[in-house]
Amino acid sequence: MQDIIPGDARIIEGITPCCTESDAIHHSIDTYGNAFHWFRLDTPRLLTQAAAVLHTAGARLAMVTAYNRRQLSEPMQEICYHFEAKGTVYNLTVTLNGQWPTVPSITPLFANADWHEREMMELYGIQVTDHPNPRRLFLDEELDAGILNEAVPLSIMMNGACTTDLWERILKDKEKRP
């Protein structure tokens, strides 16, 4: 028996032109009959267009996930935007390019994207262009963006705990500052 997966035709038809590659769109359903629609956008620039379709249809932004497919310490490679409309979840995935991952901001459309995008900037080192309020969310201004995503070798961590090297370096850096 073929299950019917519920969804808003306006949203699905509106986003489809942004996903031209093969296997870019798939639909799934959980055991309770709740639908999930997955779209892989051709380029990060199309995000604004796809988000506008969802905004017009009255969808709500639920979450944004940045992740990579390889190692924890490498630059983030993909971002998945999760939207909800009338009990159905619509996921937009964008593939980031290489060393300078950049996406356009959707905060002008969805006010609640503000925190998610600020978190992406500081915790994962992703550039969000045209963000209306690019202040720090959790990390202090003095810390580098994406620093928590870096893998620190255990030997360097132990240096801080059992030798004075780290403190001497901090003191030296302090002297250098004007």
């Binding site: 992740y67 009990g87 609640n112 959790f138």
Partner: protein, 360 residues
């Protein structure tokens, strides 16, 4: 000379057990602008999750939040079940709802009690906490723990609740119901409570929609949003209950939504005790492939959203979650517009904030 000045409040705060820092721009007694600084209790839990296997993560996610602890392991298990294609047994679906609603009663009563504490109504605070203690006893008796129930596991539930315990839960609910009804009456009519909550901390419906708030904060502003109704999961499609919505948009409306929801939770607990079918409580885990899935549930504070990515190993490639408080903090900027400095704590409490789960 400017007539406004900045007033720091926090990070260690009289009203909250958790650290959050408010930078208030005040003009005399009136708040003109709110800036929020958080990040004091970031624990790096999402990175930790990718270094543990799927089963260990059930324990980890239960520790994201204290009052919503069960909702986190519940949603996490649902996301794993979605990604692996596990169908949980019918008995487990009912037992999951049972634990979830027991936690909801305790969580809502806690928030209501703290409101009385902030108002300075100490006797009411003590009274509500005493009534809540009955639910704590239920948790301890049935699950062995007062906060983290450790009831959920991938594929079902860990604790099978026998007939005798179901009878005990039913008796305790019968005992609690009149006591909570009395409490609801006090919050609805007491002039001291109303003077501090009615018409305060306004969040108009349009702002609530714009900011995408969830849970009782959204429902107190007239928005019909409840994952249990919008995309039913576990045993909710088969159970009868109402989604409580109020349109007062103020602190009072949010409190009444929570108190009325407790009665819906009692209804759900009773139905679960009566209708839970016999049978197994767990389903076996399947082969782990490379896939992605989402899951969402309604926690006491609102929608919890989980995303999981598996890579063929027993450790998730990515596990991300968004807690309800994360969506609700920005609403404080609207609620505190032109309020008095003395009301800041009370308004903050009305979103039922959780700092540790926001920062993870």
């Amino acid at each position: 000379m400017s007539s406004t000045f900045t007033m720091p409040l926090g990070p260690v705060h009289v009203a909250l057990e958790e650290p959050v820092y408010f930078n208030l721009t005040v003009e005399g007694e009136t708040v003109r602008r709110v800036d929020l600084t958080s990040g004091h209790v970031h624990r790096g839990m999402e990175a930790m999750a990718t270094q543990r296997n799927l089963i260990m993560n059930t324990t980890l996610t239960e520790r994201v939040c204290s009052l919503c602890s069960n909702s986190h392991s519940f949603t996490y298990c649902m996301s794993v079940e979605n990604v692996l294609g596990i169908v949980i047994p019918e008995r487990a679906r009912y037992l999951r709802v049972l634990a979830e609603e027991i936690k909801r009663v305790a969580s809502h009563l806690f928030n209501t009690a703290i409101q009385a504490h902030i108002i300075g109504f100490k006797s009411l605070f003590m009274h509500v906490m005493e009534v809540r203690e009955m639910m704590q006893d239920v948790k301890e008796t049935v699950y062995g723990n007062r906060m983290n129930l450790a009831s959920n596991c991938i594929g079902g539930v860990k604790c099978d609740v026998d007939r005798k315990l179901l009878g005990y839960i039913r008796d305790m609910v019968a005992k609690m119901e009149p006591a909570v009804d009395e409490i609801r009456e006090i919050y609805a009519a007491n002039s001291m409570v109303l003077a501090r909550t009615k018409g305060m901390g306004l969040l108009p419906r349009a702002d609530a929609l714009r900011l995408g708030v969830v849970g009782p904060v959204a429902r107190g502003s007239g928005i019909h949003i409840d994952v249990r109704k919008d995309s039913p999961y576990a045993a909710y499609p088969e159970l009868e209950f109402e989604s409580i919505v109020a349109d007062g948009c103020d602190i009072h409306a949010r409190t009444m939504v929570r108190l009325n929801e407790i009665f819906e939770s009692f209804k759900l607990i009773r139905q679960c005790c009566d209708r839970v079918p016999d049978g197994p409580v767990t389903a076996p885990m399947r082969q782990i492939r490379t896939a992605e899935a989402c899951a969402r549930t309604e926690a006491p504070r609102g929608e919890v959203f989980y995303y999981i990515r598996t890579n063929g190993t027993d450790m998730p490639a990515r596990l991300k979650w968004r807690v309800p408080s994360y969506m609700n903090w920005e609403a404080l900027g609207v609620m505190m517009r032109d309020c008095k400095v003395a009301d800041v704590a009370l308004i903050t409490n009305s979103i039922d904030p959780c700092v540790s789960c926001t920062e993870r």
